[in-house]
Amino acid sequence: MSEVEGMTAKQKLVYYQDKMYKDALEGKAKGELVCWSSSIAPCEFCETMGIHMIYPENHAAAVGAKHGALAMIEIAERRGYSLDICSYARINLAYMDLLVEEAKTGVTPKELEECPGPRIPLPDVIITCNNICNTLLKWYENLAVELNIPYIIIDVPYVHHWPIPEYTKEYIADQFEYAIKQLEDLCGKPFDRQKFIEVQEQCQRSVDAWDRAMGKACIVPSPLNGFDMFNFMALIVCARAKYAAEDTFNTLADELQAKADRGEDAFKGGEKFRIAWEGIACWPYLSHTYKSLKSLGCNMVGSTYPGAWSIHYTVGNMKEMGAAYCKMYSNTELAHKVDVITDVLTSTSSTGITYHLNRSCKLMSFLNVETAEIVKERTGVPYVSFDGDQTDPRNFSPAQFDTRVEALAEIMEENKNK
């Protein structure tokens, strides 16, 4: 690990991410297996089998943040994909089409050549977990059919009554065994249970480091700004089963603590308000939303993202592991979702919250009204809602966003003076 010695957390983030994409591309060229995975699917199984992992949601977000979304989206629409479908899915399915075309013709399509996101190889297997949404099931079904490759499903049924029932955990645990069998068939080798334990242990250490780093947002004023959280998230998604994540997040936690000890905050003393952001980022407008909030002195310290990858379980316990992947707040009943968001507000001392009404994400939008009302009733924290989209740049209006957050800042100011 000498290459990373002395690196800052940000440098490590870039280094490790690049390395993973590079390793996957080179591995693919050598005939090694590549898996495409949803962002909160269990990575432990493929990691144990030595399969390279690529995360299409992350990749789509990166393409979006680098302003390459529209070109991909237009390709998906040509294929007949409705513009009402999740924009991550549209970007990825278009990207897949281009990769297939390249593989068939030997010529790199212009749109692929020009796509600003990192290059990724085609998968040999895909895995999805519907703890994020059921849309993933359909998206990956399309990948499986178009590419004619094995499709590992980890179905974590919607928890309409919290807590997660035992029988749900048993069903998930059984699916883990089936996933292992699918991988053994694919790889032509037995699943190494000892290595699996080691991978699980690494995941737990990575998650602990993630918790530690993200926990720094609770310090008042916060040394961490939430938009950095959006960026660092890439590594807890892509490298949870690797030392890379543990290393980077420990470095980040140390840096943030040192900063806090020096009495510095993320805005160089400009933290006027602490707010939470509910929902996915608007990647193509990441910089706009960040600057807009910053100009009002709003540091986004609260998010449900840290909790989403806080996947803890006793190593070796499949049922616990199943429950850990099932508990994503958007996969649970309204009352539990409200608890999670309330906890985010209180633990980060946020005095305002924005709800992203995300055109791409029905599951993370259709309970917003109820959630916002109950959370407000419970905490007294004011909220605003804005229209947007995670990566389709056509569904966001900077002017609307600015007006809403200005209104929020005014309400927070008033509350302060009360």
Partner: protein, 260 residues
């Protein structure tokens, strides 16, 4: 023998009177569509100018949104078929039609005989239609018929990417308040319309020749933007606004011949 085709759209009414299925003796456009006085007025104009009357017409065929409201028509035929017929008559080498009207955008694929082999229409939203251009023309305070002129002077194409017309309006307003030249914004508006229309056109397979029709085809800025997006030559149909009415008149001629 005279036949008449009438195309009643959402924003305008069009009439073509055809002699022997070959020569256009009258073509009239009135900028009022279905439900208005437009249909009566456009018929009146066409008859006055040609000196003909309804009694001279062997057959009348109606098309467009208001096609079922024309009492004098013996037959109603959809605008998809009429546009295909009209375009094929005007440009026999056409294989792909892009038609942008007041509230619809369509892409039609033709076979060698000029028959429709597949077609795609926009979804309900106004983006990518004439209506969208109207809204933008109002916001920009540039008359519709001057939009192309502005576009031709653009030094760059600014992005107007919102799918939603309301959002696009606010996007344009914010460009205006940032003192972006209207020329560049208009080029962006045209590119936005082009991108929606091309989304439909790509699905036809884009066989050449590609021909544009509909009122919006008179806007060179949109035509240029479509051609640029598709990286292909785009021919503007002669009489683009009356192509549907022409097709209807041609169908009327076919009908009249059947009777004879």
């Amino acid at each position: 023998m005279y036949t008449l085709g009438i195309d009643i759209g959402s924003a305008s009414s069009k009439v073509v009177i055809l002699k022997d299925g070959r020569d256009i003796v009258a073509e009239e456009v009135v900028q009022f569509g279905t439900g208005s006085s437009g249909p009566d007025r456009v018929l009146h104009q066409a008859f006055t100018k040609s000196g003909l009357t309804f009694d001279d017409m062997a057959k009348v065929v109606a098309t467009g949104y208001g096609r079922f409201s024309v009492e004098q028509a013996q037959k109603q035929i959809s605008e998809i078929s009429c546009h295909a017929k009209g375009i094929f008559f005007l440009v026999p080498t056409a294989r792909t039609i892009i038609d942008i009207g007041g509230q619809d955008a369509k892409a039609i694929k033709l076979d060698k005989r000029g028959m429709v082999s597949q077609f795609f229409m926009n979804d309900k939203c106004a983006a990518g239609t004439g209506r969208f251009l109207e809204v933008m023309s109002r916001v920009l305070e540039v008359p519709l018929d001057k939009m192309a002129e502005y576009d031709s002077k653009a030094s760059e194409v600014v992005s107007v990417s919102s799918t939603c017309t309301v959002f696009a309006e606010s996007e344009v307003i914010s460009h205006l308040s940032n003192n972006v030249p209207k020329e560049n914004i208009i080029a962006g508006v045209h590119a936005s319309v082009a991108s929606k229309a091309c989304g439909l056109a790509y699905r036809t397979g884009l066989e050449e020749d590609i021909v544009m029709s509909g009122g919006v085809a008179q806007n060179e800025g949109v035509v240029r933007a479509i051609s640029k997006e598709l990286q292909k030559k785009v021919i503007v149909a002669p009489h683009p606004q009356v192509v549907g009415a022409l097709g209807a008149a041609l169908f009327a001629y076919d009908e009249a011949k059947k009777v004879q």
